[in-house]
Amino acid sequence: MLLKAALLNVELLLSLLAVGFVVGTIVAVLQVYGGRVLGVLAFVFEWVFRSIPPLVLLFLVYFGPERFGLSISRFLSATIALGLCSSGYQSQIFRGAIQSISSGQMMAARALGMSRTCAIASVILPQALRLSIPGWSNEFSGVMKDTTLAYVVGYNELLRSARAIMDRHYDAAMLSFLTVAIIFLVLTYTGNRALGWLEERTRIPGLQVAGWSEEGHS
C-alpha cells in the first residue's frame, strides 16, 4: 500500500519538475535576455514564487478556484502550486548557468547569422543546462520531499497513506512512518544517482563546473 502510494509521489514529482523546468527555463532566459520589461516581469514572477511558502500556495491553488465555482483536481493543483514554486528556484539555477557562459558564445552565434532565439536554443541553453545539473540535483532532492505537502489537499500520497495506517492500527504508526522515511531515502538516492549518470553522459571536455582535479582522479 505504501509503495503504491510512493508511485503517486513520484508521479507528482515528475510532473511538478517538468512544470518547474519549462517555466524556470523561460524565466531564466527572460531575466538574462528579455530586456527591461520582460526582465522585470520575470524577476517579479521569480520573487513571488520563491517567497510564498509552498503550503500557502497549495491552499490558494486548490481552494481558490472553488470560490468561482471551479474545481481543480488534487493532483493538478499540487502540480501547479509546487511546480511554480520550483520554477522560481530552478530559474535561478539556470540563470546562474546562463550568465556563466562567456558573452563570446552569443556573439559568435549572432555573427554566423543566427537569430537571438536560435542562438539561445542551440548555443546557450545546451551549455547552460549541462552546467545546471549539479545545482538542479539539489532542487530535485528538495521538491522530492515537498511532494508530501500534497497531503493537505487530500492527495493520497505516501504520507497520507501512512497516516491512514496509523488511524487504523495505532501500533503500526512508527513502523509506517519509518517506512516512509526509508522510501524517501531510496528515492533520493536513486534520483541523485540517475542525475549523476546524466551529468556523466552529457559531459563535454572543457565544459564543466568541477574544480581542478588531478589527471586520473575525479
Binding site: G104, M107, A108, A111, G113, S122, Q127, L207
Partner: protein, 252 residues
C-alpha cells in the same frame, strides 16, 4: 558593375565620453585584402564589429553590395550570414565538436540538410588542415587549431568577405604560423578579407592595402610597399617601424 563589395561611410561610435570612431570611411573591392593597423584603443576592432553590426555604430552607413547593412529594416541575420567573422579568442561553441562547430551555421542558418552540412563541414576542416580533428571538442585543440576551426566555421557559410579581429593575438608564437598560412592561402584564392592584425609579414605578402588608424580616424592608407618605404605621415612610419621590430618579421 563598379560597386565595391563593401562600402563604409563616416562611421562614428562613442562609448560614454570616449569617441572611439570619429568618421571612418573606406571601400573594399571583391578579392581584396585590407589590413588595419594602429595603436591599441584606436577603434580597429570596434570598426570591424560595426561592419556586421555586432556593435551598431552611432552614425554612418555600411553597404554590402549596395545593400545598406546599417538600415534599421535590413535583414541583419541574412546579411551577417554572408559576412564571416573570426574572433581574437576564437569563440568556438564549447559544447560542439570541431565538425559541429562548422556545420551548425549551414544547418541552422541556411537550413542545409544535416548530411550535406556535415559533408561541407568536413571539407572546410580539410581545407584548414584539420580533417582528422573533426570529432575533437574545442578544449581538446590547441589555440592554433581552434582558430583554424573558427576560420572553417566562417568559410562554411560561403561568405562574401571575412573579418579577422586580431586572429593571432591570443596565440603562442609557435602557433601563429599555422593560422597565417591558412589566411595567406585564402587571400591568394581570392577571398575578400579585412584583417586587424600586426603581422606585417602577412600584410606584406598578401595585403592590397594597409590602413593605419589612430584616435578613431584613418591617418593614412596605401599599398604595403608604399606604406613601408614612403609613408606620407611621420606617425605611420614610426608605427610601422615599431611593430616591425616588435614582431621581428620584416620579410616573408
Amino acid at each position: 558593375m563598379n560597386t565595391p563589395l563593401l562600402k563604409v561611410e563616416d562611421i562614428h561610435k562613442r562609448y560614454g565620453n570616449e569617441e572611439v570612431l570619429r568618421g571612418v570611411s573606406f571601400e573594399v573591392n571583391r578579392g581584396e585584402t585590407k589590413v588595419f593597423i594602429g595603436p591599441s584603443g584606436t577603434g580597429k576592432s570596434t570598426l570591424l564589429r560595426c561592419v556586421n553590426q555586432l556593435t551598431p555604430p552611432d552614425k554612418g552607413q555600411v553597404f554590402l553590395e549596395g545593400t545598406e547593412v546599417t538600415h534599421h529594416k535590413s535583414d541583419i541575420n541574412r546579411l551577417r550570414a554572408s559576412i564571416g567573422f573570426v574572433f581574437q579568442d576564437f569563440n568556438l561553441f564549447a559544447h560542439l565538436t570541431a565538425m559541429q562547430n562548422v556545420s551548425i551555421g549551414p544547418s541552422k542558418v541556411t537550413r542545409m540538410h544535416k548530411e550535406q552540412a556535415q559533408a561541407r563541414a568536413l571539407a572546410e576542416l580539410e581545407r584548414v588542415g584539420l580533417g582528422d580533428k573533426a570529432n575533437a571538442y574545442p578544449a581538446q585543440l590547441s589555440g592554433g587549431q581552434q582558430q583554424r576551426v573558427s576560420i572553417a566555421r566562417a568559410l562554411a557559410m560561403d561568405p562574401k568577405l571575412i573579418l579577422f579581429d586580431e586572429p593571432t593575438s591570443a596565440l603562442d608564437p609557435e602557433l601563429i604560423g599555422e593560422v597565417l598560412e591558412v589566411m595567406i592561402e585564402l587571400a591568394r584564392e581570392g577571398m575578400t578579407m579585412l584583417c586587424v592584425t600586426h603581422e606585417m609579414g602577412f600584410a606584406r605578402s598578401v595585403a592590397n592595402e594597409i590602413i593605419f588608424m589612430e584616435h578613431g580616424v584613418i591617418v593614412e592608407q596605401g599599398p604595403p610597399q608604399q606604406m613601408f618605404t614612403n609613408p606620407q605621415h611621420q606617425r605611420t612610419g614610426e608605427f610601422l617601424r615599431k611593430i616591425s621590430e616588435l614582431y621581428g618579421e620584416t620579410e616573408k
